[in-house]
């Protein structure tokens, strides 16, 4: 069947694109209708500590943080979601169960028993439950500043972020192994299909990032640079998708960016040649500046990867917080007329976030190449 005539007219393409656009952004808004309904229902008969207003900062922080299940729609007891396995290592050995056993409870009121041990979920952290509930029905000791004193087992669960990590790694592996094999099968012929999509980007990284910074030894480090670039870019894009495979904010998790920065640090330090170390321990300054310069240089070895880590984490998290805050304006003002303004702003900011996602991936790669280049640089300049 031939449908290609549908796409031939410009008007149709614009209409289809606009329809997809609206679908994505309206899904963003509809995912938030839950809390308002719940707040009015509970305002009638709940404990005094439950605020009657919409608490925007708790809402936003909850949506940015990791979770043990993908929440699709609904609120509280009636939420619908995709549960993920909870895998714990306690002093008595491992325990595993699906997060649906908590019945969407985030306050520590539902206890799950496994192998004689009882677990409770408070704000997506799993604790060993206290034998009795306290006055709010919570099976844990919570002090006035909302800090929980119970012990926590080691948590190896597949949370949203872990699932997204595995998912995006599998997709990237499939795509790039196919592209690499296609080069072998079609050697001498021009690239076709996905190859032709990836080729300009890969060549861009090679010619603009790797060769200027790494000189003639770029081929050794190209795999790492390409992995970093596509991994960060793909995960930034997945984080902007509001529904299932993409509901998690992976690159906004500081633990992930910490690992990426740690890898850069390991590769830089392991490949440092003697000029690199001599620049650090015997910088080219008058001898009386050594007590100042050498600590500065040593601290500099660590601050460069730490800056990489915080830059990526903060940019992506700030983007998500901004989008969520603009959408929450509708609920703060409690008026439907704020909605067109708010959604328009959100569209604009989301477009900027797409750009920022690509730029941050590129910056991470450029800085990594720069640091590796500094480490492997031959013949000191003086």
């Amino acid at each position: 069947m031939h449908f290609s005539h549908i796409l031939r007219s410009k008007k149709n393409i614009l209409s289809i694109a606009f329809a997809l656009f609206l679908t994505f952004f309206s899904l963003n808004v509809s995912a938030l209708e839950g809390p308002v309904a719940e707040e009015t229902a509970q305002a009638h008969a709940k404990e005094t500590e439950r605020k009657k207003e919409f608490d925007i900062s708790t809402f936003i922080l909850h949506h940015i943080a990791d979770a043990h299940a993908f929440h699709l729609w609904g609120e509280g007891e009636h939420s619908v979601g995709i549960p993920l396995p909870v895998i714990l290592w306690t002093e008595n050995g491992p325990a595993a169960f699906m997060s649906s056993e908590f019945h969407h409870d985030n306050e520590g009121k539902v206890v799950v028993e496994r192998g004689g041990q009882r677990f409770v979920n408070i704000h997506e952290k799993i604790y060993i439950a206290s034998p009795e509930a306290n006055e709010h029905g919570v099976f844990a000791e919570v002090n006035a500043r909302h800090e929980v004193a119970n012990k926590q087992p080691l948590d190896f669960s597949i949370t949203k972020n872990v699932f997204t990590l595995i998912f995006s790694s599998v997709i990237l592996a499939i795509v790039f192994i196919r592209v690499a094999k296609a080069y072998g099968k079609r050697s001498g012929k021009s690239p076709k299909g996905f190859q032709s999509l990836m080729e300009p980007v890969i060549l861009f990284i090679r010619d603009e990032v790797a060769i200027p910074n790494l000189g003639s030894k770029f081929e050794r480090f190209m795999p790492y640079l390409l992995t970093i670039f596509f991994f960060i870019w793909f995960n930034n894009l997945l984080g902007m998708v509001p529904f299932f495979p993409g509901g998690a904010n992976l690159t906004g998790n500081i633990n992930l960016t910490f690992v990426l920065a740690l890898l850069t640090f390991i590769i830089t330090t392991a490949n440092g040649n003697k000029y690199y170390w001599s620049h650090i321990f015997k910088p080219h300054v008058p001898w009386w500046l050594y007590p100042l310069m050498i600590p500065v240089e040593i601290i500099g070895i660590f601050t460069k990867p730490i800056a990489l880590m915080i830059r990526l984490f903060a940019n992506i998290t700030a983007g998500h917080i901004l989008v969520l805050a603009l959408l929450c304006l509708i609920f703060v003002f409690k008026s439907i007329f704020v909605a067109p303004v708010s959604v328009l702003f959100v569209v604009f900011i989301s477009l900027i976030e797409l750009l920022v996602g690509a730029i941050q991936a590129f910056i991470f790669t450029v800085l990594t190449a720069l640091f590796i280049g500094l480490a492997i640089e031959e013949h000191g300049e003086h």
Binding site: L61, A65, H146, I310, A314, N315, A318, I359, F362, I363
Partner: protein
Amino acid sequence: MVIGSIAAIGAGLAAIGAGIGIGKIGGSALEGVARQPEAASKIQTMMLIAAAFVEAVALFAVVVSFLGTNSGGAV
């Protein structure tokens, strides 16, 4: 009666810094393109990269302000 935390003021000051920095970058990029329109795309690329660096510094300050709020860092 003042409500809120001083961390929000810190984040606002960081935003001033980011605004000034990116404004200067944009201004000099515009000047460069006005002088030599053929170099427009190169200048635009460099402007975006420099803006990302300046923004990162402002976001360091935002992260510190998160850590400094009353309920101490990402509750």
